[in-house]
Symmetry: C2
Subunit: 161 residues, 2 copies
DNA sequence: CTATTTATGTGCATAATGCACACAATGAGG
DNA sequence: CCTCATTGTGTGCATTATGCACATAAATAG
């Protein structure tokens, strides 16, 4: 049933497919702005669709320059430049000169911006608690460990292209 | 170092945080249209940024109606309606009447569209092979299994809201 | 020192997005 | 059967986001 095609790696293809489809499902979920927006509205906050992922990116990867951020977001650097400026004008991020490269104006999250992303994190954490109810703690630990390793692998691959 | 705050669930919070940050990293990667676009260009195909995720969604979840698809994509249904029409005019998806609800015009992927998504899948599979080099097959199997379970949990939660 | 690359940003045309609205089909309640 | 609210789909229109061409400043290569 599972052994088809070239026999060499078939035994490893099946888990790949399972993993891939699971990742697609999770990615779709993580992308849902409705969830985030609903949470933020609940907290009395509102932010444009396009701005929010960038705020999360700055929180996670900052201090980060416009070009790097644009690369991560998959958008043109000019678009990101404008959006970061907007986030700055909203007081959600701050910009600071890079110590080693004076061209770079790194974006870092402001206390006000951090308060927003913290709320999103907290809401996700609450969901996680509900989601993992009934799981064996060892499985949770395994999943976390392997996902981290997987993400690190991706980061390594991405770096050397 | 890791034990702070309320002691009650601290032992389970740490894996959550690790998992969350790993998921964010992976999500960022999966969202990169550059990767997909590069692959498609390599194959002589070109498709608009906004259209491609929808094509992947239709391939994965189709036959699916505009409203459902819009909900998954996190965009307004009117936007998705136009984009699906565009995909249809490009011959990448087909539309068919729903057997039970004559209002619904389900979108399904066409052979031509499938050929495109297959190429993306194949490219991702190649990357996976490189990524998992040196992994213990048992770990790969574990990761796949647990991620699938995790994704199913999310799907269940999402369904009942 | 000159040439090239890199990081950031602006002007402008184009595409995407969402709201208001419309219409057809469904389903609930009388 | 007949309203009437709900749901799935789609169009007109104003707004916003996006990316290309281009510009500037700083770093880097030669």
């Amino acid at each position: 049933m599972t052994s088809r095609k070239t026999v060499q790696n078939t035994h490893i293809e099946a888990p790949f497919r399972v993993l891939h489809s699971a990742l697609v499902d999770v990615t779709v979920f993580m992308n849902r702005p409705q969830a985030d927006e609903a949470m933020l509205r609940e907290a009395g906050i509102s932010l444009d669709r396009a701005l929010f992922p960038l705020l999360l990116g700055i929180e996670r990867f900052g201090p980060i320059g416009v070009v790097d951020l644009a690369d991560r977001a998959g958008r043109d650097h000019t678009t990101v430049s404008r959006q970061v400026a907007k986030l700055e004008s909203l007081g959600l991020v701050e910009r600071q000169a890079d110590a080693r490269d004076r061209r770079v104006r790194n974006a870092v999250i402001s206390p006000k911006g951090k308060a927003m992303t913290d709320q999103v994190d907290a809401a996700r954490m609450r969901m996680a608690h509900a989601l993992f109810e009934g799981w064996d703690p060892a499985d949770i630990e395994q999943l976390s460990r392997l996902m981290r390793r997987f993400a690190d692998g991706i980061a390594t691959m991405t770096k050397d292209d």
